[in-house]
């Protein structure tokens, strides 16, 4: 068993682009679910909107990347409005069902053969990240971070941008969640009727929360598409959203650092289990499994982890149990 390999892969994953992507997606969910109590099960749709906005703008229409970023942000706002208007006046589970349906709609549309010329069908879109990597200040080469991890120059660039985004967004949220605005959100999470009776426009605040969380989700989409220079519809499935929830709950909902810690630990564990099992199978330490079953085991662990977390530690690593939205309604 090559423990150095297993650990280095796991640590790399814990700070790698996957962690950044899930962290941003989970920060968006934190605004919606953690602070406001909105059950957005369609975060994958917002991520897909971000990814496909830049991909389509550049690869299909040949327009500049930064126009694509602008379009992505605008479309994320529009999607949030579209989903919010019919559901935010209804009970929480309606939003859950409508957003999960919307995420499937987005995925099925961008992978449709009929729209292949625009979105590239199931193969998705490639070759749109040139501008982004053209700005890369890291000279070509491998960057080793002692003791045993390392990234190439492209990964270094995407990670730099990604983690700066994470820190910037977290700082903004830190400020705004301590303000009276954040107080209204937390109060809505508790009991909307009480907030209404105090003269606050609950619908408007929920909508703001949905929009802000969605826009942060589209940031995750930008990083997702740029980090692999490709946008593929089937990556934005319902499972993506569920994993982002796992990340959020693992770290602690309604905590600024929750999604960051959650994403790092989630990906460290995922890759640790995967590489560890693969190593064990390849080195014949384990012989009752085959490599193809490792993926299934990983996801079973996620499912089991989600169940156990919610039963035994719903506040996650950082959360305060007294302040968690899970037992509402």
């Amino acid at each position: 068993m090559d423990w150095i390999l297993i650990f280095s892969r796991a640590v790399e994953a814990g700070i790698g682009s996957e962690a950044v992507i899930y962290c941003l997606a989970a920060i968006g969910l934190n605004v919606q679910f953690g602070y406001t109590g909105l059950l957005n099960f369609g975060q994958a749709a917002f991520v897909a909107v971000g990814a496909y906005s830049i991909a389509t703008t550049v690869a299909t229409f040949g327009l500049p990347l930064f126009l694509g970023v602008g379009i992505g942000l605008v479309l994320a706002v529009l999607l949030a409005l579209l989903l919010g208007i019919p559901t935010l006046r209804l009970r929480a589970d309606y939003l859950a069902i409508v957003t999960i349906a919307a995420a499937e709609i987005v995925r099925l549309v961008v992978r449709a053969v009929a729209l292949k010329d625009t979105f590239g069908g199931t193969d998705g879109l490639q070759e749109f990240a040139g501008t982004f990597y053209g700005l890369n200040p890291y000279p070509e080469g491998n960057y080793v971070i002692p003791p045993f991890i390392g990234f190439d120059h492209r990964t270094m660039w995407i990670l730099t941008v990604g983690w700066i985004l994470v820190i910037a967004v977290s700082l903004l949220l830190f400020l705004v969640m301590r303000s009276p605005w954040g107080r209204v959100l937390k109060a809505i999470r508790e009991d909307e009727d009480a907030v209404r009776s105090l003269g606050k426009n609950v619908f408007s605040y929920k909508m703001q929360s949905l929009v802000i969380g969605g826009v942060i989700g589209s940031l995750a989409g930008f990083i997702f598409a740029l980090s692999r220079s490709s946008a593929q519809a089937d990556l934005y499935s319902t499972d993506f959203t569920f994993f982002a929830y796992t990340v959020l709950i693992l770290g602690g909902a309604a905590r600024i650092l929750g999604p960051i810690v959650g994403a790092a630990i989630f990906w460290f564990l995922m890759i640790f289990v995967k590489t560890g099992l693969e190593e064990a199978i390849n080195k014949n330490v384990i012989n009752f499994l085959n490599v193809n079953q490792v993926g299934a085991i990983q996801y079973m662990i996620i499912g089991l982890g989600l169940i156990l977390l919610l039963i035994y530690r719903p506040q996650g690593i950082f959360g305060d149990k007294r302040e968690i939205a899970l037992d509402a309604r």
Binding site: G16, G295, I311
Partner: protein
Amino acid sequence: MRRAVIAFTAFLGGLIFLLASGSATAWAEGESVKGTLKSQGQPVNGVKISVADESDKPVGDATSNAQGTWEVSVPSAGTYKVTLDQSTLPAGLALRFKDRATLTVQVFEGNARNVLFALDAAGGQQQGNTPDGDPAPTENETYWARVAQLAFEGLSLGLVIALGAVGLSLIFGTTGLTNFAHGELLAIGAFIAFFLNSVVGLHLLIAAPLAVVLSAAFGYGQDRFFWGQLRKRKTGLISMMIISIGVALFLRYLLLFIFGGASEAYRQYGAQEGIQIGPISATPKSLIIMGIEILVLIAVGVALLFTRLGKATRAVADNPALAASSGINVDRVIRIVWTAGAGIAGLAGIFLGLSQTINYQMGLQVLLLMFAGVTLGGLGTAFGALVGSLVVGLFIQVSTLWIPPEIKNVGALAVLIIVLLFRPQGILGRRERIG
């Protein structure tokens, strides 16, 4: 490291469900073209497909198997011409577009490229019509025949959804739980039957009832040892909803772990010749399945309306506190609802496996449609779930008249959102139930 990430992502992508195509992709090394031939949801086997490169040099050929799938490996990425040999199509089937027997496709590096050939019942073969030059009135007739055929298929799909949705709705009504793992109850029913049928070797007529009983037992156990305990701990509803997501993930990938990612079929009642009833062509098994589905749904309805237990169930759904104070054993009612709901869901899963294929993602694929049906009909009302599911099934199939079949589910889900805009309580729901 980058390679590892890419490989991992590809792996992730491979696991992700393919709701539109309805078949799981087996992991393939190297480039290939592949596809699944289906007509009215039934696999079509024995059809020859040949692949040539850009300069018409043959690369290989394949014949579709009992599941309707075929695959031809190609040497490298590039452009290929894929040709379906129309003379090998079974009697009564024809290409929807006669001029598209040869398709030109692009295969990317490392990509197993899916190629779709649309098949239809050959129109008016009894009258010996020529494929082209149909006179205008006949075209109109075939149009309506298609509408009738699609409506029939929609009804068939709607009944399966309804069977699953009734349990989902009753569990929601009595416990308030939006169970994201309900789809997996269908999948587990289908796989238990598959196990008894293919591994143990029982005839499906014996395996299926056994699987339903085992599904019901699983439902009982789930409530007894899991959900019931959580209720006792006074776990919040949102918490339980997210726990059910964990349960769904766990069960789904447990199925993948045990049975692998390939699509399976039962040993009996595979491909059947369709019989013609008026404008509709249907396989005998689909008619029998629909008959059983209707009987089960009627039985559930009658039980809810007229038996003591049914009345108790509706009372609990209406107001658990009031029901408890009027002497109803709420926990017992919920346990029975779970048991029956899981049993019926298992039955629905077996039927779904019979009319389509059995794979570990079938639960997730049908879950959203059940949600759509339940929400459309009105959350928490069993009869609403029934009506909503039929609407969803019909809408999905009939909408393929106007939209490509691969995005037919988009229409159903969009309708769900639009209905909620104008009638948030659903078709049969009451206004007080919302908010």
